[in-house]
Symmetry: C2
Subunit: 145 residues, 2 copies
């Protein structure tokens, strides 16, 4: 059984990556990436060379078999273009499949636009609700709000 690491990556500021995130990216057998070109830039900046597998929304189902096959061979890291994968980003289907296949899924802390925005908002409540991408149609948006 392998490990699937869900690795948060920088949102704009390349200094926002922890030693652990870089170590995990350097140690896995392969990296599943929302956009392999975006991830290539991050990796080359840190002199990391790894096989990259495309894992995009809204076609998660298409990328899934290759990433699951890679997990049978060794540990895999999942990254999105920026921030924490699976939250308004592809990955939830892969995470569920990995658990179901008996692998271990490990979070690697890092940037989250939700937490960054909340932490400087001065909002005083104990909890909050995140709606994800809001509807673009004015009627649907009004109903939700």
């Amino acid at each position: 059984m392998s490990r699937l690491f869900v690795v948060a990556t920088p949102i704009g500021n390349l200094e926002d990556v922890s030693p652990r995130a870089l170590r995990v990216l350097a140690e896995v057998a392969a990296i599943a990436a929302e956009d392999t070109r975006v991830t290539s830039r991050l990796l080359s900046r840190h002199a990391i060379r790894k096989p990259l597998l495309s894992y995009r929304a809204p076609v998660e189902r298409r990328g899934l078999p290759r990433v699951m096959a890679a997990l049978e061979e060794g540990d895999v890291a999942l990254v999105s273009d920026a921030g924490t994968p699976t939250i308004s980003d592809p990955g939830q289907m892969l995470v569920a499949s990995a658990w179901a296949a008996g692998h271990t899924v490990v979070p690697v802390h890092g940037p989250s636009s939700i937490m960054a925005a909340l932490s400087i908002s001065g909002y005083g409540g104990p909890g909050f609700t995140f709606f994800g991408y809001l509807p673009r149609k004015p009627g649907e948006l009004r109903r939700l709000l």
Copy 2:
């Protein structure tokens, strides 16, 4: 006008701290900390020496004047014991006061237990609701759920 940096810190794994977080902690004039002993350990590990101001919940109001006074003198970082300050952690009153006094509040990405847990949950929804600390009394908990 100064800057208040809201800096997320490691939750158990000391490798989970970004170069930017360490740079900010090394550059500010003072650090407001939920528990100065916990923060001292993090700082001494990275050879950072700074004046520490106690800023605890549930007595945020008590620590507020000293931290606001420090902001008048220079940049301040806010940290909690672990994770992202202000979310189930002290800091929201300070953030609101800093904005109100004309300072800038800057988030510094890092560990978040909420994002870590969500990202490996395999939960497929577009959004989520975070309730903060749940009530301890069985009756209140049942009503909330």
